[in-house]
Each structure stands twice: as structure tokens, then as C-alpha cells.
Symmetry: C2
Subunit: 314 residues, 2 copies
């Protein structure tokens, strides 16, 4: 199944009443520092504090009324779980969330706060999957994968669509890559909106499976990666990878130090809270492994969910 630009436009209409149209911010210091004209698409201001609400909302509102009443389900302990719970709450249907029993309390509370019905399981992938299968067997809920799902990919693409509507002069769009939902959606939206635009991904050096997958021409799974960018630990999916191969110019890796420096700089100068995964995308400009000077560069700030009690400086 191919995801088209029309799917992204339809997603934009579908989520319009529920998602924020987030602002695009600029910052003179950041331009000076990077040598580019940088446009920040602020998904940190999105509902649940991350772009994930777009895809979850599109998936929830893509369901026919009769199937929607059985609810939606996923296994996730991150932003996708919160996003799905909130989207389901808005539509008035149940969201069943399978979470590892060692998930941080703050994440459990967030999902529960949005009305998600949590089932805990052992913290292994096998346990997550079998528990999710059980939940679905009992409830008949529709599974919404965090990224390897057409509806989710189309939903995430709306962030890039809005960015280009606001700043049509972009030469480049940069997004972070984890499972590839945001990146693949953004790549479709951008390359269809504007022929010749360059789409580049930022990936942590310490979790460079997408970089290696592009080199190898096949999905290389992420194996126990360790990076501060905890939103980017997952491997590519069989839906996202081909889109990325086809439409993304290159994946640029960013060091842990670069992620932290970029994040702190943005907090200090742009006065917005961005999470490490967002700093990975901006880190491509910060570390200057590739030359983007003089260009108009849109960067998708994926989110702003950070534990303020555990900051990566002093």
C-alpha cells in the first residue's frame, strides 16, 4: 500500500479540529551559529508535547464508527501511548495501552491522566507483543503501531505540510529518525509539495541503525542502543524504510555531546524546551558535517517532553 500526498492532505483535514497548528519560530542567534536560515516547526507545542499526536489522531479518526467503539490498542511507554490515549479520549472511545511494569511512574501517570487503560507486562518485546495480542483478543480493539502504520505516517506528514505552507521557500527539511514514522511522512509531504526539496535526517551516532540500513540497502535492526535521545531507540519498519530509501537524501549522525550542546543552546537562546530527539535534528546543523550554509532549512522540533529533574548538564 502506497501512502500518497492525498493521504497526507486528508490527514490534515481529519486532525484539523483536534491538533494544534504549531508555530514556526526563528532565532537570530541560531541562524548566526549555524550559518543557515533556520525555521523551527515547534511540535513541542503540540498536544501531549510531541508530533506523535498527529499520527495517533489520524489513526483514531480514520476508524469507521462501528469499529471505533471497540477502541484502539498499542504497546508503548512513550509519547505515542499518551498521544493515542488522548486522541481516543477526544473521540470518546477506549485506548488500551500495554506498558512494561518498569516504566517510569511519570509515564504511567501521563497515560492514565489521558484516560488510557493500562495493562502491565514484563519488560521484554515478547511479553509486550503477547500481552497486546491478548488485549486485542479480548476487546477487539484496533492496533495502532507507533510508526509502522499508514495512518500514522500520513498523520506525522502533516507537520511538514504545515511547515511548507508557512515557509514555502525552504531548501531543506530535517527531521529526526527513530522508527521513521515522522521522517517518512515528512519526506512524502515535502517532496510532493515541492519538487527538488532536500530531506535529511538526523540520527544519534550511538543509535545509527537507520544510517547503516541506508548503507546496506536493508533494514538493520537497532541493538540495545544507548543514547540520551530516548525517542530514537527503535528500528525502522517495513513501511517506513522504502519511503526513506526513495525520498530521503541522507541520514547524518550526531554525537551525544552535539545533541546536548544543541539542546542547551536552544533552551538558552530560543527559550523553548526541546527534547534530546529534537536536538538530534538540529544537531545536523550544529555539527556541520554537511554544508547547509546559506540555505533555508526547516527543522521539525519533534517534542519537548523532558524530565526537568534529570537534565544532562551540571
Amino acid at each position: 500500500m502506497t501512502i500518497t500526498f492525498a493521504d497526507i492532505r486528508q490527514a490534515a483535514e481529519r486532525i484539523f479540529p483536534y491538533a494544534h497548528r504549531t508555530p514556526v519560530l526563528t532565532n537570530a542567534s541560531l541562524n548566526q551559529k549555524t550559518g543557515a536560515q533556520v525555521f523551527l516547526k515547534c511540535e513541542n507545542f503540540q498536544k501531549v508535547g510531541a508530533f506523535k499526536f498527529r499520527g495517533a489522531c489520524n489513526a483514531v479518526y480514520s476508524l469507521r464508527d462501528e469499529e471505533s467503539t471497540r477502541g484502539v490498542a498499542t504497546h508503548s511507554s512513550g509519547n505515542h501511548a499518551q498521544a493515542l490515549a488522548l486522541a481516543a479520549k477526544i473521540r470518546g472511545i477506549p485506548a488500551y495501552i500495554v506498558m512494561p511494569n518498569n516504566a517510569p511512574t511519570v509515564k504511567k501517570d501521563a497515560v492514565a491522566g489521558y484516560g488510557g487503560i493500562i495493562t502491565f507486562c514484563e519488560p521484554t518485546l515478547a511479553a509486550r507483543e503477547s500481552t497486546l495480542a491478548e488485549v486485542v483478543g479480548k476487546t477487539g480493539a484496533a492496533v495502532v503501531h507507533p510508526y509502522n502504520d499508514e495512518r500514522v505516517i500520513a498523520g506525522q506528514g502533516t507537520a511538514a505540510l504545515e511547515l511548507l505552507e508557512d515557509v514555502p521557500d525552504l531548501d531543506v527539511i530535517i527531521a529526526p529518525v527513530g522508527g521513521g514514522g515522522l521522517l517518512s511522512g515528512a519526506a512524502i509531504a515535502a517532496t510532493e509539495f515541492k519538487k527538488g526539496i532536500r530531506v535529511i535526517a538526523g540520527e544519534p551516532e550511538m543509535a545509527d541503525d537507520a544510517f547503516r540500513s541506508m548503507q546496506a540497502g536493508k533494514i538493520i535492526p537497532s541493538e540495545n542502543p544507548k543514547t540520551i535521545a530516548d525517542g530514537l531507540l527503535t528500528s525502522l519498519g517495513d513501511l517506513t524504510f522504502p519511503i526513506i530509501q526513495q525520498r530521503v537524501e541522507q541520514i547524518v549522525t550526531v554525537s551525544e555531546a552535539g545533541i546536548i550542546e544543541t539542546m542547551k543552546y536552544v533552551w538558552e537562546r530560543a527559550k523553548i524546551i526541546i527534547e534530546p530527539s529534537s536536538a538530534v535534528a538540529l544537531g545536523v546543523l550544529w555539527e556541520k558535517k554537511i554544508d547547509l550554509s546559506g540555505l533555508n532549512v526547516g527543522v521539525i522540533i519533534s517534542g519537548g517532553n523532558v524530565d526537568l529533574g534529570k537534565l544532562p548538564w551540571r
Copy 2:
């Protein structure tokens, strides 16, 4: 000399080419928490990260060409010094800044980074004033006081003017009060823009000299106050106090714990960096000593300059 609404409109025109028209943000969680519809006028996104740029810029561009060439001068170690240095740099004139020799390196660097010419002095008020007098004697520069100056007050008032232009339905405007430059300018702008609008100030409980001045009917100087809201340590001026007496409904004090809780909540939920002084204004809504529920409340977020290495939690 009376500062009129026309002065504020003129200031708005004067600073238009140089200052940001900062966005007004809303946040669903904050509305729910406070029971009001809250509109944040984000001066943390202003140049130098604080509203102070407005007043400094208005003062600098109010100078006639021939007097401007001798430059401007002030004694300050805070945002006003940076703001004056930047405004002068933009106009291409010198800014002489007198700073105590124990000012934090980061503040010295910031002023120097904007091209300010720093003269150090002993860290006493007497030394600051005599050193400033010397500098002015030598250079003929025009002194721009941080708040007790008509041009500065009119400039600061433009933040409230823009807020009301964007959200005319406001019932209340809240600003923090230190020396009263922002508060008095906002009070003139708001009450002239919209008859009957309520103007309320937030002040740290631990630096409540404005609160006590209003009670006493005369300026009671601030004596060695200790609060995390380090932008609000100064006493009212003889220009700002009468305006506040005439146009501000009341001054509400906010506890240190309330300031910190509010600040952290805004960082976590609204994903913007606000400094403690801004949290003092919002703290009026947070602590609910007065009932503003159901009202449209504009809050001037004064700035976002915070040392990220010294945060007031864990």
C-alpha cells in the same frame, strides 16, 4: 511630565523595525489548572530574552541624531544593560555600562557580546552612581535609567499594547513589579486601550516593597530583599509609583514556593523557558489569593533568562 497613550503608540512605531512582535501563547493545561483563560505575552522571545529591549530601544531611538553620537549610559548588571547595549549597537552608537566588579561572568560576557563598553566599580550603590557620573562627565552620554525614565516606561508599555491588539477581549492584565517600569507602562497602555480593564501586579512575598508602598501611600524602599525572582529586587521610582497608584487595582504577593512551582509547571506544560520574575506574574493565578476564575487574563511573561546550571529544583 505625564506619559500618555500617544507616547506608547509612538514608542511602538519607533521600535517596530527593531523589536520582535512576540507571540501570544495559550495552554490548555494552564487554563485548567488556573480556572481562567490565560494568554501569555511571550517577552521571553524578545531580543535579549526580555521585555527590557522595548524600553531601551525606545530610549535610544528617541535621541536626536546629534546627541545620539555621544552614546548612552546606565548602571545595571541585568537585562537592561544587555538591552541598552544591543539597542545602541543597532543604532551604531556607544553604550557605556557601569557594572559591579562582582557581577557574574555570564552577565559581563553578554553585555560585552552586544558591544557594551563596560566600566567596573565597587559593588555598592554609591560607587555605581559616582562611576556613572564620571563616565557621563567624560563622554557626554545620555543616561537611560532601567525604569524611572519616561522613554523606558513608554517602551515597556508596548508589550501590553500588542497583547491587547491581539486579544482585545481581556478582562485582566497581570505584570510583575520590580521598579515598576513594565507595570506602569502596561497600566497606561491597558487602561487607555480598554476602559475598565483590570491591571494587577504580582510581586514576590519576599520583596514586597511595592505592596507595602501601595498600602502606605508612599514609596517604601526595598531593603536587601532575598527572592529567586532576581529581576524584581529594585524599589519603585518617583515616576512609576504615581502611575501604579492611579491605574493598578492591586498588588498580589506570591510565595517563593509558588514562584518555583509555577515556573516548573510552565516549563513542563507550555514548553517555554520563563524566568522566575515571569512566574511571579503567573503565580497570582497559580496561588489563587484572588479569584480570577472564568476571566480572560493576559499575563506578561517578562523574560526567559535563566542559568540552566542552577535550577531551583532537584
